[in-house]
Symmetry: C2
Subunit: 154 residues, 2 copies
């Protein structure tokens, strides 16, 4: 279904939560267990997400006691495309787009060879244009957010 991995979803949640926590507490560093509790996502999973985000440079890690994670840059400067790339790797809808030419065994008679990049570029542009700030539902308090009624769209 053109699925996005759940890890990416979690990553967005964690990043926004991290942003809110920094503003609320003034404390720049927050731990993985703390974020896990705040978001409701299992702690090992949060740790895994944060590791990936740290590797991509979206967050900065501080090791040792009193360590934790902090945002590398404001959330409004982070696009959805950045998060997806950090968690899932480069955005590529089909193996044809990113992979080598040898990966597709029907390549020689593939009528659309080289054209998925058109679709790919369109999606990439769409995702780059949306920042994490856009993803945040600003009017509602973070914790215990009201579910249901919001999902009716489309």
């Amino acid at each position: 279904m053109l699925r996005l991995s759940k890890l990416t979803d979690y990553a967005v949640v964690v990043l926004i939560r991290l942003s809110d926590a920094e503003r609320a507490s003034g404390d720049a560093v927050h731990t993985a267990p703390g974020l896990a509790v705040a978001t409701g996502v299992p702690e090992p999973t949060v740790a895994k997400v944060l590791k990936a985000l740290a590797g991509a440079g979206l967050v900065v890690s501080q090791r040792g006691a009193r360590g934790g994670y902090r945002l590398a840059r404001p959330v409004d400067e982070v696009s959805v495309a950045d998060v997806i790339t950090a968690i899932d790797g480069p955005i590529a809808l089909t193996a044809c787009v990113d992979g080598g030419t040898g990966s597709c065994d029907v390549e020689s008679m593939c009528a659309v060879k080289g054209r998925w990049d058109l679709v790919n570029d369109a999606i990439h542009a769409a995702l780059t244009g949306i920042s994490l700030t856009d993803m945040r539902v600003a009017s509602i308090p973070l914790v215990f957010r009201v579910p249901a009624s919001l999902s009716a769209a489309e």
Copy 2:
């Protein structure tokens, strides 16, 4: 990786091939095995793809001896979004967007609840704007993409 299923890729190939075949032969009905040979995609897989396309109304099936499939409407009126919807179901990046509200167990504290639809709409718009005609590589000679000997086998 924001992966598109291979079936969708095959579907685009098959649809374009079907369009070419109809114009070339004048015969409106083409069989699944014939299209499989023409595209290089395994026959059962082509059959599966065609079934899904028929269910979505993109192609029309003709059962019985001398049966087969034909396009329900010209390929330039079919968007990539149509094909993806036919094969993979409704375009929904996350379970939050399409599914029921009960599917997400951290729903109550999900900071981005109801906002993936924004991303979803952007992608849907991008995909709707691309037709199968756009996906076709016009510059490559037909004979190279569709070997004459294979085409005659239908």
